[in-house]
Structure formats: C-alpha cells, structure tokens
C-alpha cells in the first residue's frame, strides 16, 4: 500500500526534516505516527498524499513509484486517499453538505446520490442538524468532524489524518478514533499522525515514532526525524 525506501525530505539548504525513512504499510493496516511538534509528522503525511516530493529515496503508493506519476495520475491517485488536515481546510463559502460532498463532485459523481449519501454521513458524525451551516458558524470540534466526513465520503483506500483529535475533548477524540477504526475494519488503510501518545496507546495499533523536532532527544541536536516501527 505505502512503501518508503530510504526517503529524506529537506526544505532548501536546511537540515533534513525527515532522514533516511524506510517502512512499509500493508493494505488494511492501521498505524499511528507519533512525535513531538516539529518532528516531521505533517511532512511525512504530505509525502504520502503527494504534496511533497522526497529529496532522496523512493515512495511507492498502491504499487506505483510516485516519481513516475504525471499530474493526471496524481489526481487519480489522490482520489483514493482521504486526508484530514490539521487546519481542516474547509471552504468557508460552501455549506457543510457542500464541503463534505466536494470529493464526490470532483470525481464527477451525480448530485442526487451525492446529496443523500452526504447527509447520511453527516448525521453519522453528529452533524445532521448542521447540513446547511457554513464552517465559520461551527465550533472547532464540529469543523473537525466535517473535515473527517469529507475525508471519508469517497470511501478512500488510504486515510491520512493529521492531528485529527487536536481540537476536541477526550470523549469526542475517542469517538473519532473509533470511527477511524470502523473504517479500517471495512478495509481502509489508516494512518493517524498525533502527538497524543496516551490516546494512541489505547488502540494497540502499530506506531511509527519520529524523533527530533522542538523537543530533541538527548544527544540529537539535528532536527532530524527517524522512524522506529
């Protein structure tokens, strides 16, 4: 599903954010990416959803080397990946329903099926009464659930979530993670980046730990991330 082979990522001439990462995520697996703030969790996810290119090494997604993908292929591949962004990235001029249905629209799905399916999903995440509200009128937790609903609406093969529980209380955080687990049971490969190690440990799923960042480990002065699986 996802294969990293000696992958490094650096911005400009600075020290690499990620250095010599190698791992393989099996289809249908569930992984947490753990690390302190600045450890490179978001960068790692960006590599997975093809927003960054590795400075070195090779990444394979769905069995294809990402270096061989053109813009058209990338767009098609991204339709198989659902992403929950740390800052949600909701479109303020669209309603909740329209935001969640966006991936379906982009994929060219027709409207009647899209309305019904989207409203059903929003009810499932507890936003059935907010279908026609605009994001700025929603709380942080509600916006997060809209972002999650948008990420899963198209039933992606790979779901990437960047701090999906960052803006919600523990009770809702657990509920959201159970939602991800449910999706995983239906066959979706799930990767969750979080700094909340205690929450992740409750799920007994494999973890990728990134060292480095703002809280460097003793003896590690470089802002370099290495994976320990």
């Amino acid at each position: 599903m996802v294969r990293f082979d000696k992958v490094s990522l650096r911005y400009g001439a600075a020290a690499p954010v990620l250095d010599d990462l190698s791992f393989h995520l099996e289809p249908g697996s569930f992984h947490f990416i753990l690390g302190a703030s600045g450890a490179g969790k978001s960068s790692l996810l960006q590599l997975m959803y093809l927003w960054q290119r590795p400075s070195e090494g090779r990444i394979s997604l769905f069995g294809r080397d990402t270096r061989e993908l053109n813009r058209h292929d990338k767009a098609l591949m991204r339709r198989r990946i659902g992403v929950v962004f740390q800052d949600f990235r909701l479109l303020d001029h669209l309603t909740t329903l329209e935001n969640v249905a966006l991936p379906l629209r982009v994929a060219g799905r027709n409207r009647p099926s899209l309305d019904e399916h989207t409203a059903e999903l929003l009810s499932w995440v507890g936003l059935g009464d907010h279908l026609h509200n605009y994001p700025p009128t929603l709380s942080g937790g509600q916006q997060q659930r809209v972002a999650i609903a948008r990420a899963v609406i198209a039933r992606p093969s790979l779901l990437l979530a960047d701090e999906p529980t960052g803006n919600v209380d523990d009770r809702l955080a657990l509920r959201l993670l159970y939602l991800f687990e449910e999706l995983n049971k239906m066959g979706t490969t799930v990767v969750i980046a979080t700094h909340n190690e205690a929450l992740a440990e409750r799920f007994r799923q494999p973890m990728i730990r990134l060292t480095g960042g703002d809280a460097p480990l003793p003896g590690d002065r470089r802002r370099t991330a290495k994976a320990r699986q």
């Binding site: 058209h72 767009a75 991204r78 001029h93 329209e98 249905a101």
Partner: protein, 296 residues
C-alpha cells in the same frame, strides 16, 4: 442545492469591473463593425448606380466672350456629339426638376428662382465593354463646346473605395486591439484569481481535482462576465447607432450619407457578446492550465 463554483470567484473585485471593461471594448468593436458595414453598403450602392455612368457638365458661356450661343443649343450640340459616338447607350439632359432637387440641400428651396450661372447636366450611359472612356468623349465634345466637361464617376468612386478600404482596415485594427485588450485583461484577472484563491485550488488538487476541473471554474466565471460585458457594450452601441441614424435621417442633414445596416449585419453585431464570451472562456482556460502546469 450546490453552488456552481467551488472557487468563490463571484466575490472578487473582477466580477464587478470586468463586465464594464469588456462592455466598453465591445462598444468600440460594435461601432467599428457598424461603421465598416455602413460604409461598405454605401460603396456597394454607389458602385451599382455609377458603373457605366458619366455626367457631362455644360456650363454657360464665360461672361464677356463672343460666344453668344444660348444654353439650349450648347446642350443640343453636346447631345448630338454624344449620341453619334459608338458605345454611348444613352445621353439625356438632367431635368430642371431633378436639378433643383439635387441643389436643394446646398442652396435651399429657392435655387430655381435664383439667377445663378448654373451648368446644365447631361447624364450619359455607356457600354462598359465598348472601350468608351471619359477622355475620348472629352476629345469629341471639346471642339464643339470648348468648356464642356466630362466627369467619369468611376474616378470619384475609386477614391471613395480607397476610403472604404482604409475604414475597413481601421475597423480591423480596432477589432484586433479590442480582442487583444480583452485577452490581456482576462489573463490578468485569471492570474489574480489563481493567486487569491490559491488555497482553495490547492485543496481541490488535494482531493483529486484535475487541472481541467479547476480551469472549468475559471472559464465559467469568465464566460459569464464576458457575456454580461458583451451585452452591456452591445446595448450601448445599439442606442448610439439608433441616435446616430435619427440624426442622419433628419431633413437638414441630406449631405451626410444615410447609415443603414442589413439584417445580417445586425446579426453580426449581435454575435459580438457571444464572440467576447468565447474569447474570455478560452483565454481563462488556457491561462489556468498553463499556470497550473508551471506550478509543479
């Protein structure tokens, strides 16, 4: 239930100023097209009416000369010469009534009563294939009535056709400039839109949108604005042309040629908003696709 555009372009400043800018350009283009059409029509009418036609002016004898022959016999002499020439199909004096009619715009209704030394005119129709020229007729008439002058309308028409050609070229230049300005404006507006809505476009890409999906958002917006601007410009042009036609057909303005457009020429004018919308659509699409392709 769903908005048509995922990119909120309708809230941009461009949505307010672009239609007026395009409207102004379409207004200029419409006037250029109308002017060309009117002048071309006039040239066609003159061409049809004047081919094979000449006019002979028989002026009264110069004061103080010994030529005491009266005007009627001078005219008759010229007519005799003309009618004896091969290739002259018809030679008839222009009637007094027609002369007065022709002079009325210049001299008013009292032209007939005024004791003016006006020349007599003879309308001549020639067979254009016979080789008869104004110069040959002049040579034939000259010995009989020395100051009679043969006027070849083809010469005047030729100069007028040169003017028509120049007007056409100017109109083409105006159309080219207007189209170029429209393209540059739409490119600028589209690039600004891409920069302003960069985050929205990034998101669309991240959820799997092709560049053509993003381009479609911009091209629909540009088409709407182009069409709106085109209708505004055409509306203003139609009002202007209507006022102009009223002024031209006023009784005191007989000197100004009548500006009339055929139905198909009005149809051409009506196409301007559609053409403008098409130019805006294609420009926006190409701009978006090129810009996005350079982003990676």
């Amino acid at each position: 239930m769903f908005r048509r555009s995922d990119v909120p372009l309708e809230k941009d400043a461009s949505a307010r100023f672009l239609p007026w800018l395009i409207g102004f350009m379409v207004f200029l283009a419409a006037l250029a097209v109308a002017a060309t059409s009117a002048v071309t029509n006039l040239a066609d009418r003159w061409d049809t009416g004047l081919t094979g036609r000449m006019t002979v002016q028989v002026p009264p004898p110069a004061p103080g000369t010994e030529d005491t022959t009266n005007m009627a016999s001078r005219v008759q002499t010229v007519l005799d010469v003309l009618r004896s020439r091969q290739g002259v199909v018809r030679a008839e004096p222009v009637s007094e009534a027609r002369m007065n009619e022709l002079l009325r715009p210049w001299l008013g209704g009292d032209a007939a009563e005024a004791d003016l030394p006006l020349p007599k005119l003879i309308s001549v129709t020639v067979d254009t294939t016979s080789g008869v020229t104004a110069a040959r007729l002049q040579d034939a008439i000259g010995p009989a009535v020395p100051n009679a002058v043969v006027e070849d309308h083809q010469k005047t028409l030729g100069r007028f056709l040169d003017v028509v050609w120049t007007v056409r070229m100017l109109a083409l230049l105006v159309l080219g400039l207007v189209a170029g300005a429209a393209v540059i404006t739409v490119i600028f507006v589209t690039r600004t839109g891409l920069a302003v809505h960069r985050q929205v476009i990034e998101l669309l890409h991240l959820i799997g949108a092709h560049d053509s999906y993003v381009a479609a958002q911009f091209q629909r917006h540009a088409m709407r604005l182009g069409l709106l601007g085109g209708v505004i410009g055409l509306g203003l042009a139609v009002v202007t042309l209507f006022v102009l036609s009223q002024v031209v057909t006023m009784p005191d303005s007989a000197v100004v040629p009548e500006v009339r457009l055929a139905l198909w020429q009005w149809g051409t004018l009506l196409l301007l908003p559609v053409i403008t919308a098409g130019i805006a659509t294609v420009t926006a699409r190409v701009t978006v696709l090129r810009t996005l392709a350079r982003m990676e």
